[in-house]
């Protein structure tokens, strides 16, 4: 009874001429017949992202659903900087809101916000920070935003093609300012990444994107972008929006990413 680590291994060793009455009880061609000792192994030993007959990777679709039901986050690229923001709805008033931080630094000039499963994003941020530092140790130069995004996306893709792991349940919005100016990237659980002028993810994504499409201009200044970001969050907010339940991250031409766990700290109390 050997465990299959890749789907094609299972396909090659599946008995082709199984005429037993229980053959039809096998759930899929890649699982051994029920009642055999191999049955228990195979549930866990091939990749969860095996292709479906329609050509989709079902686990990635489910991961995107997890992202879509997460709290809304968005990002806007201005002419002289980038802003990312997210709503921060805490499960109870007893939670110490000063301890909750969704926007995090990857390097001093690159920050990230997520929609989806928080713990998954922490793992990714940890790996990305390490990769950024390895790049710096090798070249003594801060890592360009595109390179960091590419490496983060490569990590996410690995988890869609390995045995015994599941894809990450987060989409990331990476905002940074480097020699190529302000940049905003979205990275999905599949490992694909896109550069955006403005984007939203999570619960209210279609309304938020429509709102952003109307409001976005190419020559927006950073302050306007922050204002627009907060307005967009307010559009889809259930309940009372306040400076305390949104989080903002900003990076400007000074290349220092700053985050404000209470927007009120930035002086933008909006009502």
């Amino acid at each position: 009874a050997q465990g299959f680590t890749l789907p094609f291994e299972a396909a090659f060793s599946f008995p082709q001429t199984d005429c037993s009455p229980f053959a039809s009880l096998a759930v899929s061609p890649l699982q051994p017949a029920i009642g055999t000792p191999e049955m228990g192994d195979s549930q866990y030993s091939f990749s969860l992202t095996t292709f479906s007959p329609t050509g989709k990777l079902v686990q990635i679709e489910h991961a995107l659903t997890a992202v879509g039901s997460g709290q809304t986050s968005l990002g806007i690229k201005a002419a002289n900087g980038v802003v990312i923001a997210t709503e921060k709805k805490l499960p109870s008033i007893l939670v110490d809101e000063t301890s909750v931080q969704k926007i995090q630094l990857m390097t001093t000039n690159i920050g990230v916000v997520y929609s989806g499963m928080g713990p998954d994003s922490r793992v990714l941020v940890r790996k990305s920070r390490k990769q950024a530092q390895q790049y710096f140790r090798l070249y003594k130069e801060p890592i360009p935003v595109t390179q960091l995004v590419r490496e983060t996306a490569a990590v996410m893709q690995e988890f869609t093609q390995s045995g015994g792991v599941r894809p990450f349940g987060v989409s990331l919005l990476v905002a940074g300012y480097d020699d190529n100016g302000p940049q905003l990237y979205q990275v999905d659980p599949s490992g694909s990444y896109f550069s955006w002028k403005a984007s939203a993810m999570g619960k209210n994504v279609s309304n938020a994107k429509t709102f952003l499409e109307k409001r976005y201009t190419d020559d927006m200044e950073l302050d306007d972008a922050v204002h627009t970001a907060i307005l967009t969050l307010k559009e889809g907010f259930q309940g009372q929006i306040s400076g305390k339940n949104i989080e903002i991250g900003i990076v400007g031409a000074d290349r220092k990413f700053r985050y404000y766990i209470e927007a009120i700290a930035y002086g933008l109390w909006l009502n």
Binding site: R137, L138, Y139, K140, E141, P144, T146, Q147, R150
Partner: protein, 204 residues
């Protein structure tokens, strides 16, 4: 005889006004016997970055191949050339990886950085970087080269004068070293062009 003196070599780089020059000898020997008089020690990484490698010839060639490999991948991934400072950090890291079984090479890196500001540096065989504003030397003739460069060097030399100076410094130094010489190879790099010249010298 030490492993660094097995093949014999001399490499020098000098900074001028918005330009730099890098020069080397052309002898390849095996102990005291001369095997070749056209050995290449200075290699191009990209149009504005050159590396000269002195020391054991096999390591010179292998190290050059490894560095060009790394730079080509960098060019493909980042869609730009490496800055000289970045490349120097890379060479230092590559050499230190082999800390306990090193490449027997002492590189001399010379390039034009951002805004075409000349950059030169050298390092020992395990990657200890040494930046300089005027000149750097390496090889079996390094002691003579230090003396010659120190006395002949002036800051802010124009390309033609820089070429003369570096050639004289190289030739007079290798004449004092039996393991290097047999001709010279000088590259003069300005923001607009690269001049490559071979020097005729005492063939002994």
């Amino acid at each position: 005889m030490s492993i660094f003196e097995y093949n014999g070599s001399a490499v020098v780089a000098m900074v001028g006004k918005n330009c730099f020059a890098i020069a080397s000898d052309r002898r390849l020997g095996v102990n005291l016997q001369t095997i070749a008089t056209d050995f290449q020690r200075i290699f191009k990484i990209h149009d504005k970055l050159y590396i000269g490698l002195s020391g054991l010839a096999t390591d010179v060639q292998t190290l050059y191949q490894r560095l060009v490999f790394r730079h080509k991948l960098y060019q493909l991934r980042e869609e730009r050339d490496m800055k000289p400072q970045t490349f120097a950090s890379l060479v230092s890291a590559v050499l230190y990886e082999k800390r306990f079984g090193p490449y027997f090479c002492m590189p001399v890196i010379a390039g034009l950085g951002e805004d075409d500001v000349p950059f030169i540096c050298t390092m020992d065989c395990i990657g200890a970087k040494e930046l300089a504003k005027d000149f750097v030397v390496s090889g079996t003739a390094s002691e003579s080269l230090y003396g010659a460069c120190e006395s002949m060097y002036k800051p802010n030399m124009e390309p033609e004068e820089l070429f003369e100076t570096i050639s004289q410094a190289l030739l007079s130094s290798v004449d004092r070293d039996c393991l290097s010489g047999w001709g010279g190879h000088v590259l003069l790099v300005t923001p607009t062009e690269v001049q490559e010249r071979t020097l005729k010298s005492r063939m002994d």
